[in-house]
């Protein structure tokens, strides 16, 4: 018997590793935002209404360097554009839901929930019927964790002003590594990662985070190309993990 509530709790539970990874990241955001000159209310409002960690970080660093609104908005657009690709990946499983479900699930779509939920949807052993409850559970866990950590960061930042320099935001890097590395099971996937990483480093100096977008596009293109070449040479994509 899988009740909606139990499915939602399962989604929240499967998201716990992501919560732990986001914990220091959220705290650092809170301390950094306030020390960059954002008011406490605005810092909390950003986590409540924007809810997109990496773009919040970048926005705060842009505010600290006195950047104008238009540039910050444009940067937000480019940094978060990947979420549209996530929503495209999830669309086949979400399009049957009423809008009152699609609106909150869209608002709450993050890297972390995407990674957890996408894996769950791909598992065909369970019927599609109640899976959106799992999605919801994962989202609510991420959201409340993020808002709470921002609050803790704001409070801690006032008592430990040097905390922003401790490098705790490394937790985000470790989390993303933990998502990416197990996904590198086929050679085209490995090619996509290597190309994306290399381009991102080389194109880092492009303005408005355009390097990130370029790296992602070239990574995806080279993954497809590698897949095509492997198929043409008669080789099946080897599943190293099997």
């Amino acid at each position: 018997m899988s009740s909606p509530l139990r499915t939602a709790l399962q989604g929240a539970r499967d998201t716990i590793p992501m919560l732990i990874g986001a914990l220091p990241f959220g705290i650092i955001f809170g301390t950094l935002a306030v020390s960059s000159g954002l008011s406490v209310a605005a810092t909390l409002a950003m986590s409540v209404f924007v809810f997109a960690g990496s773009s919040q970080f970048i926005a705060v660093s842009l505010i600290a360097s006195g950047t104008g609104l238009l540039v910050i908005w444009l940067t937000t657009l480019i940094v978060n554009l990947r979420h549209m690709l996530y929503s495209a990946s999830l669309l086949p499983w979400v399009r049957h839901l009423p809008q009152r479900w699609r609106i909150p699930l869209g608002f709450w779509l993050t890297d972390e929930s995407f990674a957890v939920v996408h894996r769950y949807y791909l598992d065909d052993s369970r019927p599609l019927g109640g899976k959106h409850w799992y999605f919801l559970g994962s989202c609510i866990a991420m959201y409340s964790n993020w808002v709470l950590c921002t609050l803790i960061g704001v409070l801690l930042g006032q008592s430990l002003p040097g905390m922003a320099g401790w490098g705790l935001d490394f937790a985000m890097v470790a989390t993303f590594i933990g998502i990416v590395v197990p996904a590198l099971r086929t050679r085209p996937m490995l090619v996509a990662a290597l190309v994306a990483g290399a381009v991102a480093v080389v194109a880092y100096d492009l303005p408005y985070q355009l390097g990130l977008m370029l790296a992602a596009l070239l990574g995806v293109a080279s993954g497809l190309l590698a897949e095509h070449l492997l198929q043409r040479s008669g080789e099946v994509c080897l599943d190293d993990a099997a």
Binding site: V50, L77, G106, A193, G197, G219, E227
Partner: protein, 106 residues
């Protein structure tokens, strides 16, 4: 909150929500070609790698392939543990431990 902050956050929130919700809103009116569907499969890996590799290799902006770069060695440790155990929580803890140790060391 000042008006500037309201505009800043309001704009960021609208942009981010539009990005995340537009395709969900369209629902059945959007169909992807098989090529597009295959391409989407590479997106998470490509995007997340493009975010993390510069943080490891250029943590302060300039290329830092040095022994005292804790971001690089913490990241390498996380990659090794992730490949070895495929366990997210273990990866985060091992990466964080190595990162903090490296920071303390140099």
């Amino acid at each position: 909150m000042t008006l500037h902050e309201v505009l800043l956050i309001g704009g960021m929130a609208l942009i981010t929500f539009a990005i995340r919700y537009t395709l969900f809103a369209a629902g059945h009116r959007v169909r992807f070609s098989p090529l597009m569907t295959r391409a989407l499969g590479y997106v998470p890996v490509a995007v997340l790698t493009a975010i993390i590799v510069p943080m490891m290799l250029r943590p302060e902006g300039q290329l830092a392939l040095q022994l005292d770069n804790a971001w690089l060695f913490g990241g390498l440790a996380a990659i090794a543990v992730a490949a070895w155990r495929r366990n997210l929580l273990l990866t985060i803890f091992a990466g964080m431990a190595c990162f903090l140790f490296w920071r303390w060391l140099f």
